[in-house]
């Protein structure tokens, strides 16, 4: 798609449509900076977080429910205050954001992989395989993604003993989210593949006798990646919200593990007694992260696929 050497890549980037649209929109630049800051600080959380809030030896119940540092009773060592178990909120938010980002990345990655394979096969081969894959997609799209995720979680809960389920919670969530996202990818890839396979370059490849697998991967795949990238970005936000929602509902990541949704659920119990920081800061972090990703998704859509608007 792009040139191979970095020597030619930078000038090409500077002339590209994407860069011009990026430069012209302060909102997009702001979103990119916020997203980059949040993602990098979250990934570096073991290094930069002031405390390790998920090490049972490091937390002290005496420190529970301390308000943020600028309040009268606040302590400077707990900048955003602590939760009911004495965990530093700032650190918990950093670790929680890291979980969000890992879950979002892995589940979208898996969904894209599955959707690409299914979509390419359905679009290129057609016939019975196409019919079968698309019916599966139809049925799955009948259900809202959060319901699919809830069902998978429920099923795994009844199949596995409790401790094992808690250990596997992260895997179950990722599985549930990627299963709910892949149909969109498959559908888009199939539609683009059906257009591409009748183009001359594909016919030419077929004439010189390249096998179907090579044609799909080497010729068609690079040309259907644009819309896939857009869907992946938008669903990155959707997956992060999905994880937070499941954890908030109490069927996601167990309370002993870091997650923004779990923090908000804990904070929700203290809404009426005045300890609002527990729900407020994780919630704002989540909203800001998703907002930045959505803005970047809008920009990508503008650049890569004007038809999708």
């Amino acid at each position: 798609m792009t040139s191979n050497s970095t020597g030619r890549f930078l000038p090409a980037l500077r002339d590209s449509d994407a860069w011009h649209k990026f430069k012209g929109s302060p909102l997009t630049i702001g979103a990119a900076i916020i997203a980059l800051l949040m993602i990098s600080s979250a990934l570096l959380s073991p290094l930069i977080a002031p405390h390790d809030p998920f090490d049972p030896r490091a937390i002290d119940l005496m420190n529970s429910l301390i308000p943020p540092a600028w309040h009268e009773d606040g302590q400077s060592s707990f900048l955003l205050g602590t939760d009911d178990q004495g965990r530093d909120l700032l650190s918990a938010i950093l670790y929680g954001t890291r979980t969000s980002i890992i879950v979002g990345f892995v589940s979208v990655g898996a969904a894209v992989l599955l959707g690409l394979v299914a979509g390419l096969l359905a679009g290129y081969l057609g016939g019975f395989i196409d019919g079968f894959i698309m019916r599966v997609v139809d049925i799955q799209m009948t259900f809202p993604s959060i319901m699919v995720a809830l069902l998978i979680d429920g099923i795994s809960r009844s199949l596995l003993p409790r401790e094992q389920h808690d250990q596997l919670a992260l895997v179950v969530i990722i599985l549930a989210l990627s299963l709910s996202i892949w149909p969109q990818v498959a559908r888009t890839v199939r539609a683009s593949t059906m257009v591409e396979k009748n183009r001359e370059y594909v016919q030419a490849a077929r004439v010189i006798g390249r096998p179907a697998g090579i044609i799909m991967v080497k010729h068609i795949l690079p040309n259907v990646m644009g819309p896939v990238l857009v869907i992946a970005t938008i669903n990155f936000g959707v997956a992060i919200l999905g994880e937070a929602t499941l954890s908030f509902l109490g069927v996601g990541i167990p309370a002993s593990e870091p997650s923004l949704g779990t923090l908000i659920r804990i904070g929700n119990n203290f809404l009426f007694s005045g300890e609002r920081w527990i729900v407020l800061y994780p919630g704002l972090t989540l909203a800001l992260l998703v907002l930045a990703i959505n803005l970047l998704g809008d920009w990508l859509r503008d650049v890569l696929d004007p038809k999708l608007r």
């Binding site: 019916r135 259900f143 319901m147 429920g154 809960r157 009844s158 989540l286 909203a287 907002l291």
Partner: protein
């Protein structure tokens, strides 16, 4: 026409059968139905007898047909946790969920449509830009966080609205309604707004882009040339032409109302089917889970079918057989 309807009906039937299959597999093979129903001291002989009586030794296809037959007559088995028939549990809770969903949809349309018309007619005004930015924030806010913030402001700080439950309800036949008491109204406003917020922004953005598209077309120019008043053009001609795609998509969105309904019901402790489903998941209550799955599937298929048919009735251009091909 007849062939189109027939084809859609067959497609819907296949989807429903597939979902019924999944529900059946869950019902039958996840956990042992017998050990869920009996106590510790039941002997093996008694278990075997119960197994025979429940028909669990019959061939699987026979069991599946029996499952479908029972489901069609509203018999979904007994909840593992609550020991009551699932259909009764669901029927008790359905009015709450339906009231909430319809109310949310009404709020979404009442606010979303005018905002969409305004921003579509005057895309350059600063007020329109403000609405757009606010709508993007509305989409990015997690549903449960919106709900919590509303509770914080209107429930905790101002003490104006009720923050959980349905308030006082009145029984009318088998239907219970909260809309006949003051506390009921105070209870429904916040959850309905929370649930409707996403739909509201969605409808607004959709109508805006459709309006901008329609205003550029020739028939609007001709209407202007004929001297028809602006108001009549905007609402009689332009808005009317945007309604077909809006209706379709709003219909499809009812699904996300159900999904977000689960979350909203959890935040506000609203005693609807979503909350029941959530409890069923945390206690692995398979009969309720599989029944809810079936219920949602039936609802979805019915909505899609209705929307397709309405489409067909409203827009004469679609009556050629291209609908069937496009669908």
């Amino acid at each position: 026409m007849a062939s189109f309807i027939l084809r859609r009906l067959i497609q819907s039937g296949i989807v429903l059968l597939a979902v019924a299959m999944i529900a059946f597999l869950m019902f039958r093979f996840i956990g042992d139905p017998v050990s869920q129903m009996v106590g510790q001291e039941t002997t093996l002989a008694e278990r075997a007898e119960l197994r025979e009586k429940l028909g669990l030794n019959d061939p699987v296809p026979v069991q599946f047909l029996r499952f479908v037959g029972r489901a069609a007559t509203g018999n979904f088995g007994i909840s593992y946790q609550m020991g009551q028939p699932v259909d009764r549990l669901l029927a008790e809770r359905l009015p709450a969920t339906l009231e909430l969903s319809v109310f949310a949809m009404i709020i979404a349309c009442l606010i979303g449509v005018p905002l969409g018309v305004y921003t579509g007619l005057h895309p350059k005004r600063w007020l329109s830009r403000l609405f757009l930015v606010v709508s993007l924030i509305g989409i990015s806010l997690p549903t449960f966080f919106t709900g919590i913030m509303l509770i914080l402001v209107f429930g905790v700080e101002l003490g104006l609205l009720s923050t959980f439950g349905r308030g006082e309800t009145t029984q009318i036949g088998w239907w219970t309604t909260g809309l006949l008491s003051v506390s009921g109204w105070k209870s429904i406003i916040m959850p309905a707004f929370t649930l409707g917020l996403f739909q509201m922004t969605f409808i607004m953005r959709l109508i805006r882009s459709e309006m901008m598209e329609v205003m550029r077309t020739d028939f609007i120019k001709f209407a202007r040339a004929r001297g028809i008043s602006e108001g009549k053009i905007n609402f009689g001609h332009a808005l009317r032409n945007t309604l077909v795609p809006v209706m379709t998509i709003v219909g499809m969105q009812l699904g996300s109302i159900i999904a977000f309904g689960i979350i909203t019901e959890s935040v506000f402790q609203w005693p609807g089917v979503g909350l029941l489903f959530l409890q069923a998941i945390s206690t692995a209550d398979i009969p309720i889970m599989s029944t809810y799955l079936l219920l949602v599937a039936v609802l979805f298929v019915a909505i899609n079918l209705t929307v397709d048919l309405l489409y067909y009735v409203i827009d004469p251009r679609l009556r050629a057989d291209n609908v069937a091909r496009g669908a």
